[in-house]
Symmetry: C2
């Protein structure tokens, strides 16, 4: 099969995902074109998932594709943006159309689950990697930044943490015939918290998604906001099978970490209050000062 | 150096390129946010440039960065879009901040030359590759598609063709100390024809950029438009040092190939009429039917 046959195989899997009322030009031209909402800002991010770094290369491609899209969309959730479109640049070593179709099927599932369109892409021969550019919308006033936490704000996290790390520790994620259970779902089927991001507009003072690990991401938030944080280890929501260390220092869960001074609306999923923003710059876990970047080593 | 130090090194090179009146949030948060123009469509494309496939890995990184951005922006030119923003996902094997700063400097030069902002990016350790997502704007009526050429339209190409191929044939592009001359400039400093794309709104019936080679790209245009084309080998504008075969089958020049029934405005650069759209599906070079995909083999 050649490049164009592979692209056709992908498009056949995308189906309705590549079209929609606001899609003026979908895949197949030099670029795609989508209609814009009035009075909003375009929120965009680009992410890379490399084989055997960000996913096991031998895993079922459908799982890889689903995860790649959700992980990338999580950045839009963290901004409070409504997700709209994605573009995917894929490099792969072999022109295996069954593999590529399965990958595209997983991406289409994630796109349908989140209501986004896959409007464009690129295919090159090279080491297996998936680069995803995500596009969404939010009014300027609704954007959730990481730099605007205030002293006294409570710190919250959605869902539970450490599940993906526990799945990685158990192993077997590289098994092409893996039967999904709760642990492997935590790794392969993270849910971009897009609904929660939108519900947090005007509620969260600052937000980001937990991709590097709770302590490290909290470190990004407090340093961008020029404040500190005190968190309570006993209140950190642990996923089944996860240790406190998993929750503190492993990423891959893609939950939202946010701060708020006010009461929270119903976010439709579990939310845990884990601490508060303080004026002294730094992070305290219970009563111990911790170095977010160095935490993995202790 | 770690990931965050590398990112700082890149941002220091980007400078004003990462900011602007319509940039609400630039690099550094989960995603960037830019204000939108009213009544236009968002035009987007994603491209990959892989080391030693799309550029020589040992070339001066400043040249690699400049070329990567221009090549990617060329897709917006081909749509008649005004270029606005880019996001770059970079994978590299070594955390070499001097190399990365030089790459960013080249990207910033291309961004300044075209008036775009580099609003976001991603950095991962992996085989050297540059993925670029470009974003621009055009009203729906102004979009230049590849599928709307009409029988009787004249076929035009901007600039000259084959220069990049001639540079590749001469060799030496991988020399880190290369002194640029006209031939190596054709390869490393293609100019995205953004000004021409906008001038062709309402004038060109169909357009694309020449990235795969004149015959192959003309093949894309006529098959999308369900027409044929007859071109005159003697009228194809050859770059200095280029052969007819270079111009016909080599890509990398990133000139615009377009069709039009009407008179052309002043496009500010050389434009050559090279043939016309005919009703019989296929491509004729002088009086010979040619297979665009197979042309490289004859």
């Amino acid at each position: 099969v050649n490049e164009f046959e592979l692209i056709d195989a992908i498009l056949s899997e995308l189906g309705e995902t590549a079209a929609g009322p606001e899609v003026v030009i979908g895949p197949g031209d030099d670029a795609s074109a989508v209609r814009l909402p009035p009075d909003e800002t375009l929120v965009t991010s680009i992410d890379a998932l490399l084989a055997d770094v960000h996913f096991p290369a031998t895993a079922r491609p459908e799982l890889i594709g689903y995860r790649a899209l959700m992980v990338s969309l999580s950045d839009l959730a963290a901004m409070g943006a409504r997700a709209s479109d994605v573009l995917v640049s894929l490099t792969l070593a072999d022109a295996d159309s069954a593999w590529v179709q399965s990958l595209a099927r997983g991406m289409a599932q994630a796109a349908q689950a989140t209501g986004v369109h896959i409007v464009g892409g690129n295919l090159s021969r090279g080491p297996l990697a998936i680069h995803v550019c995500v596009q969404g919308y939010a009014s300027e006033a609704d954007l959730l930044k990481r730099s605007s936490a205030n002293v006294g704000d409570r710190i919250y996290v959605t869902g539970s943490l450490g599940g993906a790390a526990a799945a990685l520790r158990r192993g077997g994620l590289d098994d092409p015939d893996l039967e999904l259970d709760d642990l492997s779902r935590a790794y392969f089927q993270p849910q971009a918290r897009l609904v929660q991001g939108v519900l947090l507009r005007g509620v969260a003072s600052a937000a980001l998604d937990v991709s590097d690990g709770l302590l490290q991401d909290l470190g990004h938030l407090v340093s961008a906001s020029r404040v500190g944080a005190r968190i309570d280890s006993g209140r950190i929501p642990l996923a089944a099978g996860a240790t406190l260390a998993d929750a503190l220092s492993a990423g891959d869960d893609y939950e939202l970490l946010f701060t708020s001074a006010g009461p929270l609306p119903d976010l439709q999923i579990t939310v845990s209050e884990i601490g508060e923003i303080v004026s002294d710059e730094g992070i305290w876990l219970d009563d111990d000062a911790v170095d977010p970047a160095g935490y993995q080593h202790f």
